[in-house]
């Protein structure tokens, strides 16, 4: 028993959480005792007895679980434990439930955890659509309805879409650039373990007195500063999700910049790597803003600061400026990694080099730069300075240009290729082009101030965001999961079930979200539990398609779980792709490569005679002394080595 307490793991983690939670609670009581305040007063004080333990207990869990062991010993000058790699790699399923430093294990941990939250958030969406199927209030009351759509959005954004991309990249990216692991494996593990804590905090807010947070995922002040306790769960949960996100982004930046295999110049990086480089640049600079603004709200709630208290001179609109300065780049944080996935899938399954590779990479960087200058388009009717509207409109419209470049370049990649559609990944990639084009078009319309004035805060917005986030990001996530499933699990998934999932998802997405545009323009506001009779039929139709969309995700779940356990063994390279992760076994060896590969050409040299992306260890003998004319035959990709 004592050994179990000393060893990092779940028992020590639970004890750590209890001890740190008790410490936080005791601290509040002690400080109130010293100050001669009533010890247990709650509502009037913003529940410090809950909030302080809510911050300390997760930190105690992380410490007990072993996230800080190595660093703390080192910092305290204790003799470090010799690295025996016992925390690296997985030999049984139990290793996925431990503090593990292997990027492949962490990648799987991320993906499985985030999909758990995807299904919880999806269940909430089903309840929302059940309530909205008819006018009137049938299933949940208005307050619960507000909590449901708020938690739905927060789960999907902060603990599904953003981190699932980090999970996919965690698994694939080090392999792709020929690195043995991420640059900071322990930081990587810490990043992951903060994430379920954030998700549980969001869900746990339903247990708080007054119910879960209900001010929307945007949490606008002063609605949020005056809301019941649940709102603080959101404020603090975002800190953990944000810290996780920032640490991962730093890790990706350092990994991509310093750990590429010899010969992999920037212009030889696969576009997935470019995409994660761009995303990480957004995360490290933008995420601190949402962390900061949620602290400001928390301080207004608990410490009675006046950041957003208008009666005391606070500025209500500044909340929105700071919030959207993060949250607009966040939509690209949720989209750019998907762009990378689509590039890999389309090039591989069309057997063609990416059309205009360099412009594709530059378009990503262009989006990063522009996305910092468009945030106020969320505020055209918010009552901000009116002169800010036109410049923000112009930058917003201009951001369609690099996005258009990507769409046209993917189409260009298809031309003169040999397009294979047997893989569900490719189906999702092709459907993504169509759906995302619609989402982009409605985005341009929303960018135009006069149209936005009319449709802002209506169902048109709900339609647009789901077209780009579900039809966009989630389609790319499905494409990525199907594409790398054989690599991650060493098994093949069932393509028949994949097709059922694909067509169901496509029909469900269109059926659910297309009519939302119409009811929105016609006058149905968003975030309402009840609506006018005239929208009844459309909403019933929307709900029916939403249930199809929800049900068909169970096919996906079944396919993944059963194929992981019983699927036929996968070859190393079932899609005949070029990039490095496909040149090692499926799943890859624990340390990725016995020897670091050497990169000798671009990543997409399909159809170029004699071209090669990388020379794997043990392959050296086959390569002639003079390297084949890999770069010479190409116009844009592959600078000469």
């Amino acid at each position: 028993m004592l050994a179990a307490i000393k060893r990092p793991g779940w028992i020590r983690g639970a004890l750590g959480a209890l001890a740190a939670g008790a410490f936080g609670f005791g601290l509040v009581i002690a400080l109130r005792a010293i100050s001669d305040l009533p010890l247990y007063e709650t509502e009037q004080t913003g529940y410090p007895h809950v909030i302080v333990p809510l911050i300390t207990a997760p930190l105690g869990f992380l410490a007990g679980f072993g996230c800080f062991d190595y660093w703390l010993r080192w910092a305290a000058g204790l003799p470090t434990i010799p690295e025996d790699h016992s925390q690296h790699g997985a030999t049984s399923w139990r290793d996925y439930f431990r503090f593990n430093t292997d990027h492949k294990v962490i990648g799987i941990q991320y993906i499985v955890t985030t999909f758990f939250f995807f299904f919880v958030g999806g269940l909430m969406a089903m309840m929302i659509r059940a309530e909205l199927a008819q006018p009137g209030t049938q299933i949940v009351d208005a307050a619960t309805f507000n909590s449901l759509f708020s938690t739905h959005a927060v789960l999907m954004i902060f603990v599904f879409v953003i981190p699932v991309f980090a999970g996919i990249a965690n698994y694939v990216l080090p392999l792709m650039i020929g690195a043995p692991d991420m640059a900071f494996p322990r930081l990587n593990a810490l990043s992951f373990w903060m994430l379920p804590l954030a998700g549980l905090m969001f869900i746990g807010s339903f247990l708080a007195p007054g119910g879960a947070f209900d001010a929307g995922w945007t949490g606008y002040a002063p609605l949020s500063t005056g809301a019941p306790l649940g709102q603080s769960f959101f404020n603090i949960g975002v800190q953990f999700a944000g810290a996780s996100s920032i640490a991962t982004a730093l890790n990706f930046l350092v990994t991509i910049i310093t750990m590429r295999a010899p010969g992999m110049t920037f212009w030889r990086m696969p576009l997935l790597v470019w995409a994660n480089l761009s995303t990480s640049l957004l995360v490290v600079a933008a995420t601190p803003f949402i962390a900061g603004v949620q602290f400001m709200v928390l301080f207004d709630r608990v410490l009675h600061t006046n950041f957003f208290q208008f009666a005391a001179g606070g500025d209500v609109i500044s909340y929105q400026h700071i919030f959207w300065f993060y949250s607009h780049p966040a939509v690209y944080i949720m989209m750019l990694p998907g762009f990378g996935i689509i590039s890999e899938v389309i090039s591989t399954h069309a057997r063609k080099p990416i059309f205009g590779y360099r412009l594709m990479a530059l378009a990503l960087i262009g989006i990063v730069v522009l996305s910092y200058s468009v945030w106020a388009h969320h505020m055209f009717v918010a009552g901000m300075f009116s002169w800010l509207r036109v410049p923000m409109m112009i930058t917003t419209l201009l951001i369609a240009v690099p996005t258009g470049i990507k769409i046209f370049s993917w189409l260009g990649t298809l031309f003169f290729g040999k397009i294979h559609t047997y893989s569900t990944a490719m189906l999702f990639a092709l459907a993504f082009i169509v759906t995302f084009t619609i989402g982009g078009i409605s985005g341009v319309m929303l960018g135009m101030v006069p149209i936005d004035i009319h449709v802002s805060d209506t169902y048109f917005i709900v339609a647009h965001i789901h077209f780009v986030l579900f039809g966009g990001s989630v389609f790319t996530i499905f494409a990525g999961i199907y594409h790398w499933f054989p690599k991650m699990t060493g098994r093949m998934y069932d393509e028949k079930l994949g097709r059922v999932h694909f067509w169901g998802t496509l029909v469900g997405t269109w059926g659910t979200f297309v009519p939302m545009h119409w009811v929105g323009m016609d006058g149905m506001p968003r975030r309402v539990a009840d609506y006018a009779e005239q929208f009844g039929n459309w909403n019933l139709l929307i709900s029916c398609f939403a249930f199809i969309l929800g049900a068909v995700q169970l096919v996906f779940l079944y396919n993944m779980v059963v194929s992981w356990r019983f699927g036929p063994r996968a070859e190393a390279n079932p899609w005949r792709a070029n990039s490095i992760e496909w040149q090692v076994s499926s799943p890859p060896p624990i340390f990725n490569f016995p020897e670091i590969p050497r990169v000798v050409g671009g990543p997409y040299e399909f159809g170029v005679p004699g071209a090669k992306h990388a020379i794997m260890p043990g392959e050296g003998a086959e390569v002639p002394a003079k390297e084949p004319a890999v770069a010479g035959s190409s116009t844009t990709a592959g600078a000469s080595s």
């Binding site: 205009g356 135009m448 323009m521 116009t635 844009t636």
Partner: protein
């Protein structure tokens, strides 16, 4: 190699697609009935965008489905596609043409924005709108601010400047038939400009989430001839409650100049 593509046919298909989508979508009145001078301008802008969007969408669809039809691999074909890495002229084209399209859209939007916010020649009527969880109330100038709750009356064919106030959290002022929306923000005064041009009864909807009663935060809007309006205001016998009077007294906090669209 692009000579091998039926460019003319693809363009013709794109134009046909644009025409077909536009023919179906433009005649539909997406935004519902219009009842202000801004409504036809915004609806026209929307129609222009529908045509441009139909073109972009058709182009993408024609390219996608042509490629899928023409370049789909035969079963068992394991060969690769042609090693084409790009085409500078094409890449410049699909950078520049969309830039021109969106800049046109931006310029046109700017023009419409200025038009719908332009101050009218005559003296506009100013109505103060107060919002609080979960009710609307309105104060009219003259007679020491005649005030009433839950029902807004305005004269037809006269520009109205709504001065928007909030007493607790953010609300938002929207009459779909007017196409105009603006948030009511606590602590500052915001403005919305509308010239109603059709007599009738409409609904004022709160469109910013404001709590559990948000869904039902509505008010009746009556647009009527000036004479009827005058009679109705004269019949009001409630005066402005104290907290609202305090807000009106504080004109210093007016941060949003009217009709300054980008100027």
């Amino acid at each position: 190699m692009y000579g091998r593509l039926p460019i003319a046919k693809m363009l013709a298909a794109t134009v046909a697609g644009t025409a077909a989508i536009s023919a179906v979508m433009v005649p539909i009145n997406w935004n519902g009935q219009g009842a202000s001078t801004a409504a036809p301008k915004i609806d026209h802008l929307l129609n222009v965008m529908i045509v441009l969007s139909a073109f972009v969408f058709s182009l993408v669809m024609v390219m996608l489905f042509y490629a899928l039809w023409k370049f789909k691999a035969k079963p068992g074909d394991e060969s690769d596609g042609e090693p084409i890495h790009g085409n500078t002229r094409l890449e410049v084209a699909w950078t520049l043409i969309p830039t021109i399209i969106v800049l046109f859209a931006g310029g046109y939007s700017w023009k419409v924005l200025d038009e719908i916010e332009e101050p009218a020649e005559g003296r506009p009527l100013t109505v103060s709108v107060f919002s609080q969880q979960y009710a609307w109330s309105f104060a009219y100038p003259g007679r020491d601010y005649a005030w009433n709750e839950g029902e807004l009356h305005v004269p037809v064919d006269r520009q109205i400047v709504f001065k928007l106030h909030a007493l607790d959290v953010i609300h938002s002022f929207w009459v779909p038939e007017w196409r105009i929306k603006k948030d009511n923000v606590p602590g500052i005064t915001t403005k919305a400009i509308v010239t109603p041009d059709k007599v009738g009864t409409y609904q004022l909807i709160c469109t910013e989430l404001c709590g559990f009663g948000h869904t039902s935060m509505r008010a009746k809007v009556v647009v009527e001839p000036q004479a009827d309006f005058d009679r109705w205001v004269a019949g009001l016998d409630q005066s402005l409650p104290e907290p609202m009077m305090e807000i009106l007294g504080d004109t210093e906090n007016d941060l949003t100049p009217v009709g300054a669209g980008g100027a």
